[in-house]
């Protein structure tokens, strides 16, 4: 039984995908108890064919030159027999594997901090209200989802289907354009774009889009 399963794997060398590994590893218990061979228990399958595993020392030097197919199944077999630390059962689910405590080689402090947060990627959020002049119903926007004024302007332009001007912009403005303003912590209304982005984030309370000819 075991040989047939092995041969179906031999035809595809260097496969390492989880499913195949699970298949092989499900055979593991048999090999683990075969304590016979000095090299590895996979020799019980192929020792008659494979020169490496014979006890003649000169055979060691032939190994690298002989056929690759056997060496691939040998490798697979050897993986099977020698790896006691890969968790076999959990490898069958290729989406996520239960953390093996010894692979990959990451130290515990790192592992704890990161594994908890790794999958969630929980970002902080900061929603502010955005009003368009003349429109009573406002929108809300997460400022932390953007990293610069460019991104913010682009999102707003898309949200309200308008063109927005801001300082240092290379464009002649027309009456139809809009400007973006914000209310800061002190209650004053300011043009967006004058201070560094990060400083803006610490003082902005809400946004308003007004017509350019009003400013």
């Amino acid at each position: 039984m075991s040989l047939c399963l092995f041969e179906s794997v031999i035809s595809r060398p260097y496969i390492y995908k989880a499913k195949v590994a699970a298949l092989i590893l499900s055979l593991r218990p048999q090999f683990a108890t075969m304590g016979k061979a000095t090299h590895s228990s996979s020799s019980s399958i192929d020792s008659s064919k494979h020169p490496t595993l014979s006890s003649a020392s000169s055979s060691l030097y032939h190994q690298s030159k002989t056929n690759t197919d056997l060496s691939s199944d040998l490798r697979l077999g050897l993986t099977l027999s020698t790896s006691t630390s890969l968790l076999p059962d959990t490898l069958s689910n290729s989406d996520s594997r239960e953390p093996s405590t010894d692979w990959p080689p990451v130290k515990p402090p790192q592992r704890n901090t990161v594994a908890e947060k790794g999958n969630n990627r929980q970002r902080p959020i900061f929603f502010v209200k955005v009003y368009m002049e003349g429109v009573p119903i406002g929108r809300k926007l997460d400022l932390f989802a953007h990293h610069s004024y460019d991104g913010l302007i682009a999102t707003l332009a898309h949200m309200f289907s308008i063109t927005i001007l801001y300082p240092n912009m290379d464009r002649v403005h027309s009456d139809k354009d809009h400007v973006l303003t914000y209310e800061d912590k002190e209650g004053d209304w300011m043009m967006v774009g004058d201070v560094p982005w990060e400083m803006f984030l610490t003082t902005v309370k809400r946004l308003q889009i007004t017509r350019a000819d009003r400013c």
């Binding site: 260097y14 060691l60 993986t79 989406d95 692979w103 990451v106 990161v114 610490t202």
Partner: protein
Amino acid sequence: MLMAHSFPEEVLEHVFSFIRSEKDRNAISLVCKSWYEIERWCRHRLFIGNCYAVSPRITIRRFPELRSVSLKGKPHFADFNLVPQGWGGNVYPWVAAMAQAYPWLEELRLKRMVVTDDTLELISRSFKNFKVLVLSSCEGFTTDGLAAIAANCRNLRELDLRESEVDDPSGNWLSHFPESCTSLVSLSFACLEGEVSFSALERLVGRCTNLKTLRLNQAVPLDKLPNLLRRAPQLVDLGTGVYSAEVRPELYSKLAGAFLGCKELKSLSGFWEVLPAYLPAIYPVCAGLTSLNLSYATIQGPDLIKLVSQCQSLQRLWVLDYIEDNGLDTLAASCKDLQELRVFPSDPYSAEPNVSLTEQGLVSVSEGCPKLQSVLYFCRQMSNAALLTIARNRPNMTRFRLCIIEPQAPDYLTLQPLDAGFGAIVEHCNNLRRLSLSGLLTDRVFEYIGTHGKKLEMLSLAFAGDGDLGLHNVLSGCKSLRKLEIRDCPFGDKALLANALKLETMRSLWMSSCSVSFGACKLLGQKMQRLNVEVIDERGPPDSRPDNCSVERLYVYRSVAGPRLDKPNFVWTMDEDFALKLS
């Protein structure tokens, strides 16, 4: 021989005092008997890479005037849970012996050792001029032991608890530093979990005007940082606590102002839980930073890029793979002094990549950073072509550790093993001292390593190779090899036994989940008197199984101290007496 007698001892001693390096000191002591004698009386610093290689008694007998001792205990793979709990490395016997022999001991640096509160108490009481305590990846003590150190070591300059596991029952240890203590130069407690008294910390920092290194733990909130920085504007090395708080302009401006005042800062670390809005507060110090450790900072790519692009003097960067390939492109363009890069996996256990970090990032950095010599890189794909490019770009590489997260992953472009790629690394990087391999590897890679890795001192292998020839090539070819650690490789008895003498020239060999038989271990232990051949096996005594059964773990190291006397019940020393000691 006449020359040795023509100088009085005092002159020779004076000359020797200019020789600091351990290797040179060892060489001096081999010249002749009188030089040996003179040298041993004036040696003040000692580094012992394996605490079981020599005994306290032998050490003290040879070097009666030590002031500084460094000791390492567990094998490196203990960091990854490959060494069972309770294996050993307890430093107490050393401290007890040194308490008698070296009342003037000033410095103790321990790595991967078991340190108890009693030991710390003994240290604090026995050495009147104790100055430096560094506990790196140690365990077994609580903050009670730290309280004793704080309270009793009047001249303490350095207390550094790197990555140690410490129990924190009371949380008050910092308050045990007396008000008269002003000598601290370095205080690092980043690995502690509990809170410290903030007022005690502020007062301590305030009165230690020579404080250069301060590494806080996660329990120190961001709003405490500005006050601490204002009291220590001379800081060179800062580890922040949590770097996140509600967005508050006044906190931001206090923080920014405090960092502006720290004109000497060269190294930053900490950064647990970062809120990107607060990052610009450190921009003023970025240009002067030489070392930045963001390995706990879950900051995303764009913010990382903004930060890194301002650190033009950076020599060392440790970062999570959130930096992604384009972040590494920025690094390559901005940080031309970069010497060391470590990229850690943000999600090591998922089969699918969660970030866009590939081999390309490392290739970029190898192209853009001419001084890059030390790399630790976790990624999910690699190619021979990329490794060849890296090797050609950076022949000055001295430490190269690559971890492809999926074991035995082949070259993702060609599906071939990565033998040629790593072969190129050892061939082009003539000064390579440390190498860790991963991915799909056959015996061929070991041919290359044996042929070209002449300066290689430490090699780490996992899931690699086809058989004994691989191990044989490494052991017979790598002339400078000191430490070899292997897990899950099909290496057996032949290579080990054929290269037994080589093992005496090395510090240690670790093999776990390989194919080394119990019989071979016994043979090795019986033949090599100066090696400790230890079988670590949690399945019970190895002789309860047949001789050709593989052992779980094997740890072989040279020693003049004989077999360990403090072995736990899952460790057996293979020696002549073993056969007589059947349980």
